[in-house]
């Protein structure tokens, strides 16, 4: 008579494979949850702050948040803003934020606001506005939001 504890009966191979496979989705789900929690806490998380009244008034100090007041170059593209006081409406900044988070992510992730200079941001948004199906007023709203964040959040 054999002791079953010393000589356990071998399981059929198919059954072992099935058990191993059943663990794969659970493993993927666990790894995904760990990755999400790690990513959520790291610095790479998107920074798209909500619009505040401070942002709307920031241009009176920085005078560079409303691209609708910008002069244009020979090709009709907006150039750097002139030095004059103006006010960007909250509604425009809200529209700019909504468009920024909806239209830009159709092709790429959102870069950090500080990655480019004010001049670069204007050129980047202008160059991509056609691909993102942005009308001129919408393009200006996106630029206004980005520059308002830069003017107030750092």
């Amino acid at each position: 008579m054999t002791n079953p504890h010393l000589n356990p009966l071998p399981q059929p191979e198919g059954e072992e494979d099935a058990k191993r496979l059943a663990r794969v989705p659970r493993l993927v789900l666990t790894l995904s949850l760990i990755s999400i929690s790690q990513l959520a806490s790291c610095e790479s998380t998107n920074y798209v702050p909500p619009v505040t009244a401070k942002m709307a008034s920031a241009n009176s100090r920085r005078q560079d948040v409303d691209p609708s007041t910008h002069s244009t170059d020979a090709q009709g593209r907006p150039s750097l803003p002139p030095r004059r006081a103006n006010t960007t409406s909250l509604a425009k900044l809200h529209e700019g934020r909504t468009l920024f988070v909806h239209r830009c992510i159709e092709c790429h992730t959102l870069p950090a606001m500080w990655r480019y200079t004010t001049k670069d941001w204007i050129e980047i948004v202008n160059s991509m506005s056609h691909r993102a199906s942005l009308k001129p007023a919408e393009r200006d709203a996106v630029i206004a939001y980005i520059l308002a964040v830069r003017a107030t959040e750092r």
Binding site: L21, S32, S35, I36, E43, V101, E106, L110, R131, S133
Partner: protein, 242 residues
């Protein structure tokens, strides 16, 4: 005069059309929808290799942004080539994607997807829940799919399939992304689970975009041992915003 008008319209089309959006995955759908007024042509080719057989599937899609949240896709040409049977026309399909929430500012970006495919002696419905979250340069994506198909004479044969898919993509530069895709399928012939068919596929992907076009390629290997399923698949999607 009509010819002149048509020619003018055709020449002006590239200026009128804009890009609908880049695919970072080929087996998974993403939550963002195309901007209103955008039109894009997407060409998808899948090569499937099994034990002693090779199949090629070709899908053409015209993607149209209807509103900020609603996207329409039309598949007028759905072809396949089987190593043992030549070319086959598989009919056409229509899909709608409705975006519920945004993957950047909302806790999870959610979209709802519905596709209807019709061919001779074949009707198929595919419903998806798409969940996506963007973390900096990372895109994490999840699709849960329910597929129901009716085929053969009188559409008497019924099959069902549940699928969950997970993908992660990292943006190396604004033009280049790499990632992984993972599929887990539950197949129910006749809507029964007697055969316990489970398929698992996993593999890497790469996506490149420039101006008004993109190309994304995924290579998947089967981790299970289902005889009728492909051991290896390679899918390429090329998108062009006119």
């Amino acid at each position: 005069m009509k010819k002149l008008t048509l020619s003018t319209l055709f020449l002006a089309l590239p200026a009128m059309c804009v890009f609908a959006g880049v695919r970072h995955f080929t087996y998974l759908y993403e939550a963002p929808t195309a901007p209103p007024g955008s039109i894009e042509l997407e060409n998808g080719v899948t090569w499937a290799h099994g034990a002693g057989w090779n199949d090629v599937f070709i899908r053409e899609e015209i993607e149209v942004g209807i509103t900020d949240r609603l996207q329409l896709g039309i598949y007028p040409l759905d072809w396949s080539h089987h190593s043992d049977g030549g070319f086959e026309y598989n009919g056409g399909a229509v899909e709608l994607i409705y975006n519920v929430s945004n993957p950047v500012v909302d806790p999870v970006g959610i979209s709802l997807y519905q596709e209807i495919s019709v061919a001779r002696q074949h009707f198929e419905s595919e419903s998806k829940l798409i969940a996506q979250k963007n973390f900096g340069r990372w895109i994490l994506d999840y699709n849960a799919t329910v597929e129901a198909e009716w085929e053969e004479k009188g559409l008497e044969e019924q099959n069902g399939e549940l699928q969950e898919a997970v993908g992660a993509s990292y943006e190396i530069s604004p033009r280049l992304s790499i990632g992984i895709e993972f599929l887990h399928e539950f197949v129910f012939p006749d809507w029964r689970d007697d055969e316990k068919i489970r398929n698992v596929f996993a593999g890497p992907n790469i996506s490149y975009r420039h101006q008004s076009w993109f190309v994304t390629v995924t290579a998947l290997a089967q981790a299970t041992d289902t005889p009728d399923e492909a051991d290896f698949q390679l899918r390429t999607i090329f998108g062009l915003g006119f």
